[in-house]
């Protein structure tokens, strides 16, 4: 009780009882002095030891040993662990990249507005003529940015160039602050549809990653950025409101706003996008974005300084990778496809790994659920096997091979996430019931989406697939637990 008293973890009534007793009891007062004395001794000694200048000695020794180890080839793996690839995974980066790419499409998709002086047809016509344009972007993220990381803050700022002929180029400066420590990083990203490739380069780290688009992803990107009928469809489907006139940098603009989560593929919540279009040129001037990645993570950004009709040449879209740069994924990585079969494969994979279907299947949630298996008290056989594979089975592989293998392992999960994202984006009315449906529920709907006005596609609990009528669909969904 006295320890609790000096340590301050008694509640108010206990504290008063002790204090009251102490005024009348001499032996307890003496006892209190002893306890206080011991506490002071502990605190004082703790302070002395905490001030010992061990830090620099340790750091110097690490640097010395690191240098020695780096000269011994097979020990390099000791300085670069495998976990960073799992945790600070390109997948996560990819998800972030996807957000940006989708953001760009969203700009284009927004070009329009009915019933206002800026007409849909005029804006479309203008944008179709644009061969290349540039804009600047600012993005501020606060909260948990990656699974397994404490909350922090990240500022991104950079320039993006988009050419219908060559692709897209981004040059971003990122400033990340987590737990009081800051890190600056420059990242260059190239998306090159002609080569079916994507590059991410971090010059300060002298590292790069190259990825290859799957045909379905590429076709989709091409369709989205080139086919005017696709624009029209997206625009007509988008639920936006005309918020009226304003002035930005002396330019008269008209604003359009949407809160439709489909504009970012259902990856985000509480989405609010505002697009300002120049009333004279009928081209976008600025876009403000506001959204939540999850409950804790808020993103806020702005696309501005649009320069339409810029001149670009092929050389600008050739990534420069000096010889001494290293890659995490030699030979590149083929981005997953997002077919129905690959989505089913993803569901099966998750179920085996975690013992249940994922609760939600947006990319962020999926990643979190997979990352959570490392802390599971009751891991499944598949999870144990995977852990073993990651721990022991890969010890003899060089780091690059490990990274590649992990990407391969995660492929079904990525496919599933992307498949769902596309369903949301395409407004196919997907609904997912992983919270309640299990593999034993052969007749319950796990995931469904709309194919046409009189057809739905359904993946059942046992992963069987069927096309059914809306009536049958309603019947099945009525049977699900609320």
């Amino acid at each position: 009780m006295l320890v609790g008293y000096v340590e301050g973890f008694l509640d108010e009534s206990q504290k008063q009882t002790v204090a009251g007793h102490l005024t009348s009891c001499r032996s307890c007062r003496a006892e209190l002095d002893v306890v206080r004395g011991l506490r002071e001794r502990l605190v004082a000694n703790g302070k002395v030891l905490a001030q010992t200048a061990l830090e620099n000695d340790v750091m110097n020794q690490i640097v010395r040993e690191q240098n020695v180890r780096l000269k011994t080839p097979n020990r390099i793996s000791q300085t670069i662990g495998i976990r960073r690839i799992l945790m600070k995974n390109p997948i996560v980066k990819l998800a972030a990249a996807a957000v940006i790419v989708i953001g760009v499409f969203a700009v284009i998709n927004f070009l329009g507005g009915t019933g206002s002086s800026v007409t849909l047809a005029a804006v479309l016509e203008r944008v179709e003529q644009v061969q290349a344009f540039m804009y600047k972007m600012k993005m501020n993220t606060t909260g948990n940015m990656q699974p397994g990381m404490p909350p922090g803050e990240q500022q991104m700022e950079g320039t993006i160039t988009i050419s219908t002929e060559y692709g897209m180029k981004m040059d971003m400066d990122m400033n990340t602050t987590i737990g009081g420590t800051g890190q600056k990083m420059r990242q260059l990203m190239y998306i090159l549809p002609n080569e079916k490739k994507m590059y991410m380069i971090t010059p300060e780290q002298k590292q790069y990653i190259q990825m290859e688009f799957s045909d379905d992803l590429l076709a989709r990107m091409k369709k989205q950025s080139n086919d005017p009928r696709e624009f029209l469809r997206q625009i007509v489907n988008s639920k936006y409101t005309d918020i009226g006139k304003s002035v930005i940098d002396g330019v008269e603009v008209e604003g359009f706003q949407t809160t439709d989560p489909a504009v970012v593929g259902g990856m985000m919540k509480d989405v609010k996008f505002t697009l300002w279009v120049d009333r004279k040129t009928e081209l976008p001037v600025r876009m403000e974005m506001n959204m939540k990645m999850n409950e804790q993570t808020q993103m806020e950004g702005e696309l501005y300084d649009f320069q339409w009709y810029v001149q670009v040449n092929a050389d600008e879209f050739k990534p420069v990778i000096p010889q001494d740069y290293t890659t995490l994924l030699p030979g590149g990585y083929k981005l997953p496809s997002f077919s129905e079969e690959s989505a089913i494969e993803g569901l099966r994979f998750c179920e085996q790994l975690t013992g249940r279907y994922p609760k939600k299947i947006d990319m962020m949630n999926l990643m979190n659920e997979i990352v959570a298996i490392k802390d599971s008290n009751n891991p499944t056989e598949a999870a144990l096997k995977l852990k073993e594979e990651l721990n022991e089975g890969m010890n003899n592989l060089p780091d690059e091979e490990k990274a590649k293998k992990i990407m391969e392992i995660m492929r079904p999960v990525q496919s599933l996430g992307m498949f769902y994202m596309m369903l949301v984006q395409d407004k196919k009315e997907p609904a997912y019931y992983g919270e309640s449906v299990t593999p034993a529920d052969a007749d319950k709907v796990l995931l469904r989406w709309k194919i046409s006005d009189n057809e739905y596609r359904v993946i059942f609990g046992d992963l069987r697939v069927e096309t059914i009528t809306p009536e049958k669909m309603a019947e099945l969904e009525a049977a699900l637990p609320k």
């Binding site: 609790g4 973890f9 703790g46 030891l49 340790v58």
Partner: protein, 180 residues
């Protein structure tokens, strides 16, 4: 708090060795107290602490639960202390043979050797809580979180640790009086 440890562990694994200094800063006090009690000498404790930390850094990819960095570090420190002990024994034996008359170097006391050795004698769970509370300035709530036990258990254990420390310190005191 422990997410923080995990974060720095991952930063190190991610090729940012300099971030290891935050882990050193956070746990050096507790590590030194732990080792000083075991080795009975400030210089030796510092030497062993340094070695433990360097070993921890290079063994980090074997750390299964990054959030339990500190307990893992204590395990490494125990092994280092044991090795040092063994080396010390051999050295002493040799020295005794070499120079019979020369007194073995008397242990140079650290700031509060009596207290540190009393802590070293505590049963493991009690020792960990004392180290975290006073040598790594954790709150009882943080300790409860890191050791995955209810707050009530932490406070009770801490009270018991106080009683044990007092007893142990009194015994040392008495032993000293007899010596004189």
């Amino acid at each position: 708090m422990y997410e923080m440890d995990q974060y720095y562990v991952e930063r190190c694994l991610d090729g940012h060795p300099d971030d290891f200094r935050y882990l050193v800063r956070r746990y050096q006090g507790a590590l030194l107290a732990h080792l000083a009690g075991k080795l009975g000498n400030k210089d030796k404790a510092e030497e062993a602490a340094q070695e433990s930390l360097v070993r921890a850094y290079f063994g980090m990819d074997k750390l299964k639960k990054p959030e339990s960095f500190f307990f893992w570090l204590l395990g490494i420190a125990d092994r280092v202390a044991k090795e040092h002990h063994r080396k010390e024994q051999i050295r002493r034996q040799r020295e005794t043979i070499r120079s019979f008359s020369q007194e073995a170097t008397s242990p140079e006391l650290s700031q509060d050797y009596a207290l540190e050795s009393a802590i070293a004698e505590l049963p493991e769970a009690y020792r960990k809580i004392v180290l975290l509370r006073y040598y790594a300035s954790h709150s009882c709530n943080q300790i409860a979180e890191s050791m995955a036990m209810p707050l009530g258990t932490v406070t009770k254990t801490l009270s018991r640790a106080y009683a044990m420390l007092r007893q142990s310190l009194q015994q040392q005191q008495r032993a000293k009086t007899y010596e004189v």
